[in-house]
């Protein structure tokens, strides 16, 4: 199974601050994804990437940027964090078939 790691695992930020969530995968998958999950809901896609240098908007991209500097790394950036971005964020990687998920980052914006 693909190994996907995320850092930090927990983060408390202040409104208006900048937050960067990092994701690393070690199985050489081309595609990587950022989702958020809110209480009682499924996952919603924020941004994704087809490979190094590429980023694509998902279903809820507003307020978020993404960066894919290498095959292994994919970051999610909140330039001006807001309380509505308090959530659990999951990174995933995959190719034409299955997606494999990281353990999640719990972000609280005060």
């Amino acid at each position: 199974e693909a190994a996907v790691t995320q850092s930090p695992r927990n983060k408390v930020a202040v409104t208006g601050g900048k937050v960067t969530l990092s994701c690393n995968q070690t199985n050489n998958h081309n595609n990587m994804y950022w989702y958020r999950q809110d209480t009682g809901h499924g996952l919603r896609l924020i941004h994704y990437s087809y490979g190094a240098g590429s980023t694509e908007k998902g279903d809820i991209p507003d307020g978020y940027k993404a960066s894919r500097p290498s095959q292994e790394n994919f970051s999610l950036i909140l330039e001006l964090a807001t309380p509505s971005q308090t959530s659990v964020y999951f990174c995933a990687s995959g190719d034409a078939g299955e997606q494999y998920f990281g353990p999640g980052t719990r972000l609280t914006v005060l």
Binding site: Y35, G42, L43, E98, P103, R106
Partner: protein, 109 residues
């Protein structure tokens, strides 16, 4: 866009009972994946099953593509099966999955 409906939203079983979880989707799926989310939050892939039937242990996934539905059957449930089960669909052979709202399963001893 693609819509994915899961039912029931929640289910409570006594240990040893069977469960049938349903997933219906609005467009033909080229990819379909079932996930289990631990109470602690980690998502684990159970099945990649865009068509047909697959088995692993006490779990069986059946997808009927032309009827736009998939099911996950859990036999002889155990307390460790408790958690949330999601199905997710991609309908355009691209990279994106759309998730259903999940079924929260509680298995009591």
């Amino acid at each position: 866009g693609q819509q994915v409906q899961q039912s029931p939203a929640s289910l409570v079983l006594q240990e040893g009972e069977n469960a049938e979880l349903q997933c219906n989707f609005s467009s033909t799926a080229t990819r379909l994946q079932w996930f289990y989310q631990h109470p602690g939050g980690r998502l684990v892939s159970l099945f990649y099953n865009p068509s047909g039937t697959k088995h692993t242990g006490r779990l069986t996934s059946t997808t009927v593509t032309n009827e736009r539905r998939s099911s996950l059957h859990i036999s002889s449930s155990q307390t460790t099966d408790s958690g949330t089960y999601f199905c997710a669909i991609d309908n355009n052979a691209g990279a994106k999955l759309t998730f259903g709202g999940g079924t929260r399963l509680t298995v009591r001893p």
